[in-house]
């Protein structure tokens, strides 16, 4: 089996895992936008004018990308979005750690710094998720995906 075959096989569970993860991560942010806005503000990276727009929009991008990965719809596009988000989260985490902030990452339910503090382990975890997104981006061949079903249908209609 070639490395690309291995990547293609791993891409399917990876996209399901990332899809479920992003849908789950978006849930509390969509349900409690104010709490998520506080989490965004806590990083101290964005100017005040951008805190709310990011807190409103980002969870929905996570949700849409997660659902696309789960369903197998435009998988590579969704994987690119997830990889871009993970790269952004990693940069924010590194900045916060570099500044010595003792805070919650705000990645999932806001539980406060005491229960969910950012650490180098958070960075490693996010780096792994970033690597999974890249794996899906590079390795996906459309197996068990809605894309393939749509392709077959359109091919059948064309003949």
């Amino acid at each position: 089996m070639s490395p690309s075959d291995v990547a293609a096989r791993m891409a399917v569970p990876a996209r399901w895992y990332l899809g479920a993860l992003f849908v789950w991560a978006s849930a509390h942010k969509i349900a409690s936008p104010h709490d998520f806005a506080v989490d965004v503000a806590t990083y101290g990276i964005l100017p005040l004018a951008l805190v709310n727009p990011v807190a409103i929009v980002l969870p929905w991008v996570e949700l849409v990308a997660g659902l696309m990965l789960l369903a197998g719809l435009r998988v590579r596009t969704a994987a690119l979005l997830v990889a871009a988000m993970m790269a952004t989260f990693l940069a924010a985490l590194l900045l916060a750690l570099g500044r010595g902030l003792d805070m919650s990452c705000g990645c999932f339910a806001s539980r406060g710094a005491e229960h969910d503090p950012i650490s180098w382990l958070t960075v490693v975890r996010d780096a792994l998720w970033f690597a999974l997104a890249v794996l899906v981006l590079a390795g996906d061949r459309g197996a068990l995906a809605l894309d393939r079903l749509i392709e077959r249908r359109s091919a059948r209609c064309a003949t």
């Binding site: 969509i30 104010h34 806005a37 807190a55 929009v57 969704a78 003792d102 590079a138």
Partner: protein, 164 residues
């Protein structure tokens, strides 16, 4: 992945993100608990500031280092407690639990330490838990003073017969 698909990826991802953003803005506008598009007042963010904490060496109240000639003694307690008892030659720098030592006072302290030609700075406080002496020691060590120690048990331990 073909070149055609590669070139299509970024615009497609941008279009998906834009569609999600429109959906997000619409839902936010419709929901009663929606956020204003621009926050009017800064969020109250409760993040403990990183404390400048340097290395401090704990000393017992009878430690020979307290009898060494080239030491600089700092009493971290309040003025009243300092008046009641202090080690000979100690300077009073009351530790403030809420505010850091002002930079001008720290500079003055550093000048006095340098002028005394001391090789060790020894801080003692109220000996409580937490101990003001240990905290002041960590603060001044973290802000640049070197070879800082604190006395375990603070002034009470020194008064109880441990004083050199």
């Amino acid at each position: 992945m073909g070149a055609r698909e590669r070139s299509r990826l970024v615009p497609e991802a941008a279009a998906v993100a834009a569609a999600a953003a429109l959906l997000a803005l619409a839902v936010n506008a419709l929901r009663p608990a929606g956020l204003p598009l621009v926050a009017r007042t800064p969020y109250e963010v409760l993040v403990p500031c990183p404390e400048p904490g340097g290395l401090v060496v704990p000393l017992g109240p009878g430690d020979p280092a307290l009898r060494a000639p080239r030491k600089f003694l700092i009493d971290a307690r309040g003025k009243e407690a300092f008046r009641r008892f202090h080690l000979p030659g100690a300077v009073n720098v009351p530790y403030d639990w809420l505010d850091p030592l002002p930079a001008s006072e720290l500079r003055q302290l550093a000048r006095e330490v340098a002028a005394s030609r001391a090789t060790r700075v020894v801080v003692y406080g109220d000996g409580g838990r937490p101990d003001s002496g240990e905290h002041l020691g960590r603060e001044i060590s973290g802000r640049g003073l070197r070879h800082v120690s604190f006395v375990r048990g603070g002034a009470p331990a020194l008064e109880d017969g441990g004083a050199p």
